[in-house]
């Protein structure tokens, strides 16, 4: 195989070289199937790795998993038929090469956001290189019951490109900060994706027919010589190989001075908000040349700035309510019916600080990195550096529940400050029934907390777990004293392997976890 001479980001995989970014796939465990990559160039056959697990096994080591209800991992090999569709010569090399150590991955492959759509049929990931990859769940087939609901690559497109702001002499990163799906209203799928400055509405549609039999053009598209045309015919639609195309339908730009950190679609499905450090803007999905500023916390004198907005979200049912979190650890709930500018909050959620835990870094670790409404709209979940908190919308003075994600890091804040890890922004997510919450940690660990049973589990997203029928076993971090056999000590944690982005299927127990440039999809086991 020859080395690709093109920049990894620009390579369209046509040379089949070793460094082709499409070959090395941003998702180490999924490779696109040739059928669904029209226009981009053929890529290797599809393979998915899915791991099954039962909810009971998510609890801690106190209840060891029984063999029947275990976390198993299924590794699916590509079908022989798929190999014939490839243009690459050496399948074996491709199959081995995608399982790369993340050290060799380019920065453009680092996944920066993951999101299921509202039905759970599609899973979108955005990366630092500005690309969006959409996975679609396979229809369950009777002939192959073990291939239940695998996620395969459905569409890949370049959502954002790097830009240059000439006025400020700044480069605008193409990294996708957030993706939010619109609920499906027709055959096409719509999603919003945003980088630091611009939000785009993308339409993903399938095409499986094309018109044939034009009079003035021949099959290759060349204009015919009119003298050769002797009869007229009506073009007919002929079936063709399925092609999935993504087109940018709207571009919402030039509304944010600071970096956009979140977007949220309203339950009215007509508007959405985009949030930067100091402002929240309300857009109509149809109108791109204007937006309404509904929250502005910029002080008249920038020197008096003490807090910034870190995330905002619409209430899932009430289209007039939204919440935004701040870097000071507070959440404000606002009602858009009260005033055009929602600077006055309706509710203010803040827990008074515990003075005994005060340190140099108290402000940093109390900064909220993510806020999520529960599906039923009664609770709010916030993630700060060390904890996840569940708030009842009716109780503003303290959270309903607080979960320690990795409290063993409290004594290491100084070194985490030095290696910049203390600035990491972890996300948190609810399951479909709002009974379990999940968030990521370091060393590719992620944690789940069951709100009803009060049990929690730490799991690891790693290649070692992704072997055929491998059991995903709970992990434990040893805090001090004697380290047991399976435990890992705090000092051996790998802080470069962090899970910042996770998402949960809206109805089923399927989760997607992004570990640097790898995407792991874990699924319930069905006996």
């Amino acid at each position: 195989m020859t080395k690709c001479s093109k920049d990894a980001l620009r390579c369209d995989n046509s040379c089949g070289g070793d460094n082709c970014v499409k070959q090395r796939t941003k998702c180490a465990l999924l490779i696109k199937s040739a059928a669904s990559t029209a226009g981009i160039g053929a890529v290797p056959a599809s393979r998915t790795v899915s791991c099954w697990m039962r909810p009971e096994v998510w609890t801690g080591p106190a209840s060891p998993p029984s063999p029947s209800s275990s976390l198993i991992c299924r590794y699916q090999d590509p079908e022989p038929a798929d190999l014939s569709m490839e243009e690459e010569s050496d399948t074996r090399k491709i199959n081995n090469s995608f399982l790369r150590d993340h050290n060799y991955a380019t920065e453009a492959d680092i996944i920066s956001t993951v999101e299921f759509n509202s039905s759970g049929e599609l899973l979108a990931t955005g990366d630092k290189g500005g690309r969006v990859v959409v996975f679609q769940r396979e229809q369950e087939s009777k002939s192959q019951p073990q291939r239940r609901g695998e996620y395969n690559v459905y569409s890949t497109f370049q959502s954002h490109e790097p830009e240059f702001d000439y006025l400020k002499s700044l480069e605008i990163e193409e990294k996708i900060n957030k993706i939010k799906w619109l609920p499906q209203q027709n055959a096409a799928y719509f999603l919003l994706s945003t980088n630091d400055k611009t939000v785009k509405l993308w339409k993903i549609s399938e095409r499986d027919k094309r018109p044939e039999g034009y009079n003035l053009k021949d099959e290759d598209g060349r204009i015919k010589d009119p003298s050769t045309i002797t009869s007229l015919r009506v073009p007919v639609l002929q079936p063709m190989d399925l092609m999935v195309e993504a087109t940018a339908r709207r571009v919402f730009s030039n509304a944010h001075t600071y970096h956009i950190n979140s977007i949220s679609v309203n339950s009215d499905l007509q508007t959405f908000i985009s949030t930067d450090d100091l402002r929240v803007n309300l857009w109509n999905l149809e109108i791109t040349d204007r937006s309404f500023n509904i929250v502005d916390i910029k002080p008249a004198n920038m020197e008096e700035l003490t807090e910034v907005i870190t995330s905002a979200e619409f209430h899932p049912q009430q289209c007039h309510t939204f919440a935004y979190s701040s870097s000071k650890g507070s959440i404000r709930l606002c009602d858009m019916r009260q005033a055009a500018l929602c600077d006055k909050h309706c509710k203010y959620f803040e827990e008074p600080e515990d003075p005994s835990t005060r340190s140099f870094f108290s402000e940093i670790i109390s900064s909220i990195s993510d806020v999520k409404f529960s599906h039923n709209g009664r609770y709010l979940m916030t993630r700060d550096y060390l904890t996840v908190k569940v708030w009842d919308l009716q109780m503003e003075n303290k959270p309903l529940e607080t979960y320690q994600v990795h409290d063993y890091l409290r004594g290491k804040l100084c070194s985490l400050y030095e290696n910049d890890c203390i600035f990491d922004k972890f996300e948190c997510v609810w399951n479909g029934s709002d009974s379990v919450i999940m968030t990521g940690s370091y060393n590719n660990f992620f944690r789940m907390f069951d709100r009803n049973t009060k049990r929690d589990v730490t799991l690891e997203a790693s290649r070692e777990n992704s072997k055929p029928r491998a059991i995903l076993k709970p992990r434990k971090v040893c805090v001090g004293g004697k380290r047991r056999k399976d435990e890992i000590s705090v000092d051996s944690l790998d802080f470069s392997k962090k899970i910042l982005h996770t998402t949960w299927h809206p109805h089923e127990n399927i989760i997607a976890v992004a570990a640097t440039n790898n995407l792991y999809i874990f699924q319930d086991k069905v006996n």
Binding site: D165, K168, L170, E171, I172, E173, K175, D196, T257, Y258, H259, N261, D277, L278, N301, M302, E303, E304, L305, T306, E307, V308, T310, S327, P355, S356, R358, S359, F360, F361, E363, I364, S367, C414, Y417, E418, D420, F423
Partner: protein
């Protein structure tokens, strides 16, 4: 015992300050521009570290000259509402900090002094510094001292008082750049 703890705290505060300043400096060259949130958090850490540093110095030499509460490169949140934050383990330094606090609004009026370097170019020539330059304010050896590069034909002049404090740029980050560069 309290002296050594104060010294350790002092060393810790100095180290954190140095790390913070280097992070601030490095963020200038970062792709995507300066991040407001990150810069704000850095400035908060720097402010606490600075306060601890001066508190611990005050406790070391209570009979010495009053420590000059030097200005931060990023003057965030200055004003009557600002409270110097103390860590819980240093309650005995509280009386020492209050003179620092009262001096701070005064020094806030003073204008744009760099963190550790003497920034005479931005002070109006008529105004004498009320601060006594103790050891703390001398440029520490771990920081390079640089002054802004002049174009040919330019001269250094003392900027009018208060001009540094006005947020001319859109963002806090631009302001910090203006302040930090002379400090280096």
């Amino acid at each position: 015992m309290s002296a050594t703890t104060a010294m350790e705290v002092n060393a810790e505060a100095r180290r954190i300050l140095a790390v913070s300043i280097s992070k601030l400096y490095a963020s200038r060259t970062q792709r995507g521009g300066l991040r407001l949130h990150r810069s704000l958090l850095l400035s908060m850490v720097m402010r606490s570290a600075r306060d601890i540093y001066h508190s611990s110095r005050e406790s070391e030499a209570p009979s010495g000259p009053q420590p000059a509460p030097a200005e931060e490169p990023m003057e965030v949140g200055s004003g009557p509402g600002e409270q110097a934050e103390l860590p819980a383990p240093q309650p005995e330094l509280e009386p020492a900090v209050s003179p620092a606090e009262t001096a701070e609004p005064g020094s806030a009026e003073e204008g744009c002094d760099g963190e550790f370097a003497e920034d005479k170019e931005n002070r109006s020539p008529a105004r004498q510094s009320r601060k006594r330059r103790g050891k703390a304010s001398a440029a520490p050896d771990f920081l390079p001292s640089k002054r802004a590069r002049l174009e040919p034909g330019e001269e250094r002049y003392a900027a009018p008082l208060g001009s540094c404090r006005v947020g001319a740029g859109e963002s806090l980050t631009a302001l910090s750049l203006n302040r930090v560069i002379p400090a280096f």
